[in-house]
């Protein structure tokens, strides 16, 4: 039982990070029907921006700001920076390909990934950087009863992630821009006829999706500590998986998908095998997809004939 609760906590932490990445995929897919395979690199940039900010503000051992102020600052800086990188990727790599075959942007994404990874390698260096968050917040703080161990940092990450997701849902429902995004997603041509500037909506979508990935990068840095130039690859793949499993294009689906992947990994490692855990996870997911061919929240598309 104790191990079970611990695995739930681990899965929830990991799932929160995945969910934020998955949201970026789903938002962009919803508006453009585009699989943004360079999304993982935006997450990586976010993690590095967070590290750079932390370092500039004195590092984890001796921060210039109180922790309660410092962490939001890291996330905001990373979100803004990543958001801009995302907008730039859309403008320069994807926009020329609007009329191309659907998988053509894959090559642009590949090129963008090569470029961003190696630009970071050139400018920052190859050494794996650590946030050293254990110096920021003691790992033994928080809830530690018997076999259950939840550090404050984990609680924080889970909390921020859920707050951001709820905020996004409200934004999508209530705000004008959110409505515009949903309208464009539903029918881009009709949206344009109603006077929406579709290019602007697409830019905003990329900005929001990338900003979320930037926040995810900082959260990963705070809990999992390691930051390096190729970290976006695995995370991007997990985020993509999560968004499809949840039903691609759906905001709730991306959140649920992220949590599902997080839990699946945690339980597969805890109860089955650490060596073959991804085999277990993927087999379970294949079964799931066969039962629900459009993911958890996906809706069957109506075909226009």
């Amino acid at each position: 039982m104790g191990q079970f609760v611990q695995l739930v906590v681990n899965g929830l932490t990991l799932g929160s990070v995945y969910a934020l990445i998955a949201l970026g995929y789903s938002l962009v897919y919803g508006v453009l029907k585009l699989l943004n395979f360079a999304h993982g690199e935006v997450y990586m940039i976010g993690a590095f921006l967070g590290y750079g900010t932390l370092h500039t503000l004195g590092g984890a051992a001796d921060p210039a700001l109180p922790v309660a102020v410092l962490l939001p600052v890291l996330m905001v800086v990373a979100a803004l920076g990543s958001g801009l990188v995302g907008v730039a990727i859309e403008r320069f790599a994807y926009r020329p390909l609007r009329t191309a075959p659907r998988i053509a942007p894959l090559v642009s994404a590949l090129g963008t990934s090569f470029f961003l990874q190696n630009a970071v390698l050139l400018v920052v260096g190859a050494r794996i950087l650590r946030y050293e968050s254990e110096k920021l917040v003691d790992v033994r703080s928080g809830i530690h009863e018997g076999v259950l161990n939840v550090s404050v940092m984990r609680l924080l990450v889970i909390g921020v992630s859920f707050a951001v997701m709820i905020g996004l849902m409200i934004f999508m429902r209530r705000s004008k821009l959110g409505k515009a995004m949903r309208a464009t997603s539903y029918d881009p041509e009709a949206a344009q006829m109603m006077g929406l500037d579709v290019n602007r909506v697409i830019m905003v979508t990329f900005f929001i999706g990338s900003a979320l990935a930037g926040v995810a990068g900082v959260m990963s840095g705070l809990v999992y500590n390691r930051v390096f130039q190729t970290m976006g690859f695995v995370a991007g793949l997990k985020g993509f998986t999560a968004s499809v499993v949840g039903g691609i294009g759906s905001v709730q689906g991306a959140m649920a998908g992220g949590l599902i992947i997080g839990f699946a990994e945690s339980f597969a490692q805890g109860y089955v095998s650490t060596t073959f855990y991804d085999v277990v996870v993927f087999l379970v997911l294949i079964g799931f997809m066969l039962i629900r061919p459009r993911g958890l929240f996906g809706v069957a598309e109506l075909k226009k004939v």
């Binding site: 020329p96 075959p101 053509a104 050139l122 400018v123 073959f276 993927f282 294949i286 075909k303």
Partner: protein, 489 residues
């Protein structure tokens, strides 16, 4: 927004309302670019002749190849062509996104490795093991194709991706195949299937009709012949009934089904065909490398294969060669840093000579370059920096133009970041401002190159590959030999 100052985009690049897209695009189709005219001339010759000519030239290349290294790159081109052809059948014809394709390649390689090595002391003759492996891969393709009965589009893609990941994980950990449900205890003797991270080594070379292939030239010839035969077969298939049915399935599965095309069965056929080609390529790969490792078949390789197929132009079989050429040759060209320097400056000069017309624009560019250079040197001299040129040859020439600083890492990094920002901004500027801005950006680029990029050859190589891929796609969204077609929304 800066967009306002630009002339209106061609109608096809944004979905204008109130205009029929097909009619709009028709005008665009009639505009023939140079690539299109080459393409038209090529396609007016009969298929068999084209393949024979290209194949013969490729075979003759083996005779004139100056070194085994060049032959090896040519071999890689041939192998990628073969793989891109198979991928084209699955993706380009039938419209199925198969992200497990690299796993079929890996399955073929591992199967050949296990049947023809010391691993299990099996040494099957090549002409037995290869057909068995290809048949096995095709069956695996059929099995993986089964979910396509229920799933479509990106949902199918993710399931094939899962399959690919499962393959890599099993290949990489297949030296201890024993899933212990209670977790921790060490199996007394786990079953070693794949050699785990140590892979399978000591694989037999191929032996065909009594001739033992043991040189890279031999494998190059084998691969060229195989690729030519496969492409020829697919051309015949494409023009046969089932090929037409396959393509109709991509254009509109619903309409195809109404026209009594057996869509589901054909999807399976497409998967199996693609898989068989990948398996065949895998056997060649294993025999050449004489060793296989799980990491050979992971997602990065898959993306590379997609890049070959897309760059050439999806749906066009022979174009796989063009994509494969770019993907295999570009990284090797850039392997030597000094060649990279030559290429970058060469490309710059070629661009200026070809595109900077009239001459006045070239003059503006050069003037801007010189003024920027003088300014930067003046500022650096103000800080008391040593500006004496270093190096010899081309680097000496550029070194005379651009200061190479003693402790240049930070300076070079700043210049590099400025280059990215400037380069991106350049594409947004209006026509008349480009020569001036181009001069500034070029000088910044030279600063970055001489102070930082030239010292980091391997990183620069990856940067240039990445930038080239983005630029190629931006200039030819359909792929180099792809056709524009209206997507069914």
């Amino acid at each position: 927004m800066t967009d306002d100052t630009r002339p209106p985009e061609p109608a096809s690049t944004d979905r204008s309302i109130g205009k029929d897209q097909w009619v709009e695009a028709a005008a665009d189709r009639r505009v023939e670019t140079r690539v299109d005219s080459v393409r038209r001339r090529i396609s007016s010759t009969p298929v068999q002749w084209r393949i024979l000519v290209v194949g013969a030239v490729a075979l003759l290349f083996a005779l004139v190849s100056p070194s085994d290294y060049i032959t090896r790159i040519a071999f890689t081109v041939a192998l990628y062509t073969l793989l891109a052809t198979g991928l084209n059948v699955v993706v380009g014809w039938s419209g199925l996104l198969d992200l497990g394709y690299a796993a079929f390649f890996g399955f073929g390689a591992y199967a050949y490795a296990l049947l023809s090595s010391d691993k299990f002391h099996l040494h099957w003759p090549t002409l037995v093991s290869v057909p068995v492996v290809v048949a096995g891969t095709a069956i695996l393709g059929l099995v993986l194709g089964l979910p396509s009965r229920r799933l479509s589009g990106d949902y199918l893609a993710i399931v094939t991706l899962f399959f690919g990941q499962i393959f890599v994980s099993i290949a990489n950990n297949g030296d201890r195949l024993q899933i212990s449900l209670n977790g921790n205890d060490v199996p007394s003797k786990p079953f070693n299937l794949t050699g785990g991270p140590n892979g399978v080594t000591g694989i037999d070379p191929m032996s065909l009709f009594g001739y033992r292939v043991h040189t890279i030239t031999g494998y190059y010839l084998v691969t060229v012949v195989t690729a030519a035969v496969v492409i020829l077969l697919f051309y015949r298939l494409r023009n046969a009934r089932s090929g037409l049915a396959l393509r109709s399935m991509r254009e509109d599965p619903l309409a195809a089904e109404i026209l009594s095309v057996p869509v589901r069965r054909l999807r399976l056929v497409a998967f199996a065909l693609g898989a068989a080609v990948a398996g065949l390529a895998g056997t060649i790969f294993a025999a050449v490398q004489q060793s296989v490792f799980g990491s050979n078949f992971d997602v990065p390789f898959l993306v590379l294969l997609y890049a070959s197929a897309i760059l050439g132009g999806l749906g066009n079989l022979g174009a796989g060669f063009v994509g494969a050429f770019i993907v295999a040759v570009l990284p090797e060209m850039l392997r030597t840093p000094s060649t990279g320097r030559l290429l970058v400056y060469g490309a710059l000069v070629a661009f200026l000579a070809l595109r900077m017309r009239p001459l006045g624009r070239l003059g503006q560019f050069v003037a801007s370059l010189i003024v920027t250079g003088a300014l930067v040197r003046a500022i650096l001299a103000g800080f008391g920096t040593d500006l004496r040129p270093r190096g010899s040859g081309l680097s000496g020439f550029t070194g005379a133009l651009v200061p190479h600083l003693e402790r240049s890492v930070t300076f070079g990094n700043v210049a590099f970041l400025a280059l990215i920002a400037g380069g991106l901004a350049l594409t947004l500027l209006s026509h008349e401002w480009r020569p001036f801005a181009g001069g500034v950006v070029t000088y910044v680029g030279m600063l970055a190159w001489e102070n930082r990029l030239a010292d980091q050859g391997s990183i620069t190589r990856q940067l240039l590959i990445g930038a080239s891929l983005v630029a190629i796609m931006a200039s030819r969204p359909q792929g180099i030999f792809g056709t524009k077609r209206v997507e069914v929304l």
